[in-house]
Symmetry: C2
Subunit: 136 residues, 2 copies
């Protein structure tokens, strides 16, 4: 596996309304998209910085993954996503090398990307996403 770059960093926040103005100031750039990802029970807000996006995640359901994360750990960095080509092969390779997968097969994420998560138990505590933009 050889990811080309960090596609985005996911950050769990209590409310987008409060966090967006902070990130607009910190990054000196405007939030360019807000999108609900029903599957993940989140509203997301995106900023671009160099090759990478900052993806703020606001939970829409206390029982969803980001709702539970915030309840347990508070606001903060939630995951890192690496851009790969050939996501299915990358997952196969990860599995063969002993990494536990959350998603055995790719599914759709925000911005139309194909995504899959690796389990933090086998990635030294880092919730790790692999993603592929098949529109490129």
């Amino acid at each position: 596996m050889k990811p080309s770059h960090i596609e985005h960093i996911g950050i769990a926040v209590k409310t987008l309304d409060e966090a967006i103005p902070y990130y607009e100031k910190l990054l000196g750039t405007e939030c360019y998209a807000v999108e609900e990802v029903k599957d993940q029970r989140v509203r997301t807000a995106f900023f671009k910085i160099g090759q990478t996006k900052i993806e703020l995640l606001e939970s829409t359901d206390p029982e969803g993954p980001v709702g539970k994360f915030i309840e347990k750990k508070g606001e903060g960095i939630h995951h890192i996503a690496f851009a790969v080509e050939g996501l299915e092969n990358a997952l196969e390779e990860a599995k063969e090398s002993g990494i536990r997968l959350i998603d055995e097969k790719p599914r759709m994420g925000a911005e139309g990307l194909h995504i899959a998560f690796l389990h933090p138990k086998s990635t030294f505590g880092v919730l790790t996403e692999l993603c592929e933009d098949k529109n490129k």
Copy 2:
């Protein structure tokens, strides 16, 4: 403030010896440097992916910042570092906009960078580093 890119992501790990082989496989690239930063009481290991580095952090002192982080939260993502030009001005600007600073003045970090941290209490739970490479 307008950072150009994410300079690195700091990840707290229990031991570099175990984490380095995992990241070499995940990123498809070799660790290119291991460096002790005595001031921070850590040993660091670096990988390059696109514009960004992954900086693994192994504590050399249980009472140091990374030692305490791991004791409290376990292994995982520790901080994000944004590359800026004019670090002193960026700190001034952050302070004026109400962000609490950990470092009022830049200090030396790994790889000879000038660095300063913003406090996670005022950055929605994200320990945030600003850094400048004055050798560029």
